[in-house]
Subunit: 256 residues, 6 copies
């Protein structure tokens, strides 16, 4: 059995239940799944300041997940906020996130992919992630739906209509072989879109769930886990204690 | 349950049994596994001509696997021979191969990786695969062990010694955070090497097995499978029949 | 005098004569030219499976060409199938192919080029070849004519019309300075198109012919030929004989 | 007159005074300069978790600087933590950071540069910054001194000795034309090193100070400032207020 | 006080006065500014042959500037002609040019930029400069206004109209966050355009002026100046004298 | 018959005769060959200022070659000075140069190449040419012989010894499959070196000669010549005449 924690890194539990239900339909039989959101924070992460605000609470949720015996954590935002830091922090916990997972899957299924984002605002950072993960040559295009995070689920028919138009253009004009939905709150739309278009449409909630299960398996079986030698080398617990970082940041029991 | 076929694309069954035994130790509980090699062909694939010789038989083995109800096939050579063609050919079969699988895993576990090859001869094509898969920036180095495929298992102590030296240099001098064993016949060495080095060492047999299970799951659950719209669009069965390709190439029942 | 073999790597001799006639108009005075197609095989190579099917016969044609005293062989398909393997195989034979030749010429004549392909299906592999040959920054665009190989010569006026439209867009919108016709069966159209557009239009039959003559000259005069040290190092004849590969693959006299 | 705030984003004021004194020797005649560190936080930022811990306090210091009438803020760590977010946050404040400033200067002074880091641990993230800023082709190498942040100023003679050895190798072996000191706490060493080596050695404290003055001038004169249209578009003050983010994160008066 | 020489590298003084007046509005209080053009030469530099014609006179103007005690020289053409050679030539003079300056500024202000050129003719060389300076990933697009150098200032309303249309498309369609005016003679238009578009518009005259002041400051304070070790290593004065190059090229007193 | 002019772009005829003799051994039977050097100029081009000095005389030699009925001109320096401008200038003359020719040949013969330069000074500009021509991924390394242009032929045994050492390291350590001699005055050494190393060694005099013959053939037969639409569009003769450029630069009869 493997325990996975989905962290919805926002200050609302509004999506906890629907995401959990969605995840439950997809998790492996041996997976035990929890969804948490944060005790405080903005309602969405469209702005990088909001990402910054939730960063430490998210990392502490990751740390707590490790202490609580989880096998993996997913940081549930397509900007992949804190992925590097979470891996550095964790001793044995597997951590992944939507963009990484979705792109690794998409580049296996096709030569090129397009990402459907809500707003053009999101593109610069997401484009840097595409470059960072190595998939510049595989990126066909970003397509903006002109919608905020909270609009996706408000009028699903309109969302579906825009996705259809954007995805079709991505495939026909930009040559995309795979479509990635570039926001976790675009969940639930992949299936119909995929059937209509006839190309794989990667959902940003399902992708990291399955990637987390996959990576957890690799760790359990072969001890393949985040390399701790350079970039992901953990901070020394002694420093954290000596500097009273827990006290300073109002956490407790994380490195106690 | 998912059925996976490991194709050892050489004209000897010498490694069928040891690879099968090795795979059995690692496969998922729901996986049913077979290993085949080819009825004819060279004994190893160090030369690209040998790769060419086994290409159609390998693709026909893939096609047959699809007809026989397999869920996935692994083409068991680190050059990933025929991967593109096998995906084009398959209607629903998942196909993967060692280099693709190992690099997707390695780039998730660390920022940089090095590949331990047998001979420098192998590097140009493998380097092109690194570029093709998108991981140029993540490649720390290739390291040659100066050994042919058949030498790896002959004197395991010597092989381990060379791997240790090469991997240590890769980590310490070239900055690799992850090591990839760049040949399926380097199987069995990852574990000890990993423990010694303290960085993940990706085995080229285990990696594609688990990647195949992973991709099979994605297909079964979400119908995420190779995009058939452009590069992997299958040849029309009518043409194959009309041109009597089966007759010409001595196969039968593949498109019948 | 130099002897060049054009291999039309398909199972039909339908184009042998027209291509030969076309080549004859362009070959150097000292060139002796033959055109062969294969004894079996698909009628075109639009699908990668078809490329796989013709691979060994093509390589054996190359090997035979070397034994028969040819100086160079051209593998006549714009996917450049088997180019790497043919060079590895050959001891002294010069081998080239349309995409390589056309791109090396085009990048000498202009800063950017576009490739006119028949179908979008062809683009992913051809794009990988552009990257492999080093010309990513020089690629202005791919343009699809929406035609199969057999349609090019069926209604030449319609083909010319589509080429004109696509090439004009490539030049005016995408900024291409040179046009490459991305299929050998697009032969015969370059001249008129070039005159109309006022930019060089590279024919995929003429380009490799002249490139083969060029490379043959370099070999004859300076012994500049494919480097045999790493990637193109030939398989040892002893292995081929010992493993009875000729017998297995129904060839004879190639390494006898 | 322009007011610049140097933020030493750590939980100690140990370096405030020495850095201020060092900056004072270099600031423009019209520049008024303050140095602050944070009220809490780790003592150095070698680990990415530590970077995460200081992120919001740093951003709030930036925001406060804007409210307090500063013209520019420098985030004083060579990882450039929070640079993107700080620019997004600011309406008119100029924000810069050491790595960006140093690399823009270095690539103007030479064709290639090397970065002297304390530990190999730092390289993966810094390398990603090199890629992000566009200077992959200009990077000659990273050189590790094998020292932590607090060791640089402890035994200056030893530090200088190691810098000399590393920089000399960077210039002579790796072909670097410029050296960048990859940590703000390497301050004070550039001068002597530069004289010895005969190539520019960019100090990571001076570089962003002067870059901040430069950018401030551009803003004052031409209103050239961070583009607010996509990636740096600020979060709407209404959301911040409505969601009571100040209350939640224990700040007040920042968006009041 | 720092003395800067703006070299308008053409054989007309037509723009000397207007550019000087424009520069005077922008120069630093401590800057003393002169503008010169050449004694002979073409009237504009749209063609690379014209660039070649003015090259030595421009370099000699740079050398003379150094001898005359200038601190910096700007080569006033967006092709950045002779920048490499001028830096090689100069012992202590700072040299910069419009494209380099504008791109370094633009990439600090936004993630992506577009360049408005007069004619498509200019694009290939300017694109190579973008690549050379490292900003391939940041380039959103080139936009051609379809105007020659002398047309920009002839009908300013029409020029402004075309700039507006091109810049708007760059921002809205190509995702540019910053606009660069890709010709010095596009001076004077940035302000209004910037206000209308709401994104920074970098003027190709102001940018190198301020960059020259910036670099001069770095040199004066820290002796950070062009690295003289490899690419910018100056030719030995002895050779120049021994070979009588001054006599041969009709200069005198430059290396005397 | 085709007439080719080799321009040795220096102010000495010292190498005219030896280069001519060397070229005569290699030219095609139908090639008529002349070698010229310039009436003035530096004795070598190791410095970019020297390249600048010879630029216009070289271009005028190219223009004169066109007027005199030559079919092709080679600009005989491995920096490829003036190649862009010469192509822009020429209406029908083929122009090429050593680095371009050598790299196009080398990348056809192997996957990777190394360039043997005289001094490290040369590397930055040559490296930019490698990038410009598209061969970044194929470049194994630059190797410096630590010799000036005039030393190559002074003590041939010493030169050969250094070349051997550098080339061997390039092949064995850097993985080069082909060696390029990165200076025309390294002529005469390729043969012995090639035999010793067993990999192709491209001579920088022979390569552009043969490339010029090749391109001339393409032009004569298919009218494939430098695209005149954008980057190589020629300056209008009317402007040149109207501006009295000939008078100004002391030429006459070039555009008369």
């Amino acid at each position: 059995m493997s325990k996975i924690l989905w962290i919805d890194p926002v200050g609302t539990d509004l999506f906890d239940q629907p995401i959990k239900e969605f995840l439950e339909t997809a998790k492996g039989p041996e997976t035990k799944l929890d969804v948490v959101s944060l005790a405080r924070g903005p309602m969405h992460l469209e702005y990088h300041y909001y990402e910054a605000l939730i960063l430490t609470d998210t990392l502490h949720a990751v740390r707590k997940a490790e202490l609580d015996g989880y096998d993996a954590a997913v940081i549930g935002c397509f900007y992949d906020p804190g992925l590097r830091e979470a891996r550095e922090l964790s001793e044995r916990l597997v951590v992944t996130a939507p963009a990484e997972a979705a792109m690794h899957i998409a580049t296996t299924l096709g030569h090129t992919f397009s990402i459907l984002v809500g707003r053009k605002k999101w593109i610069p950072k997401m484009h840097e992630n595409v470059v960072k993960y190595g998939f510049t040559d595989q990126l066909a295009s970003f397509k903006s739906l002109g919608m905020g995070v909270y609009e996706f689920q408000k009028d699903p028919a309109e969302t579906a209509r825009r996705m259809r138009a954007a995805a079709r253009e991505a495939v026909e004009v930009d040559g995309a072989e795979v479509i990635i939905l570039g926001c976790t709150i675009e969940f639930g739309f992949y299936k119909e879109l995929q059937e209509e278009l006839g190309v794989p449409v990667i959902d940003a909630v399902l992708a990291p769930l399955k990637f987390a299960e996959f990576l957890t398996g690799l760790k359990d079986q072969f001890n393949w886990t985040h390399s701790k030698i350079y970039g992901y080398q953990s901070p020394p617990r002694e420093e954290i204690v000596e500097w009273k970082l827990e006290e300073q940041y109002g956490t407790s029991g994380l490195w106690g």
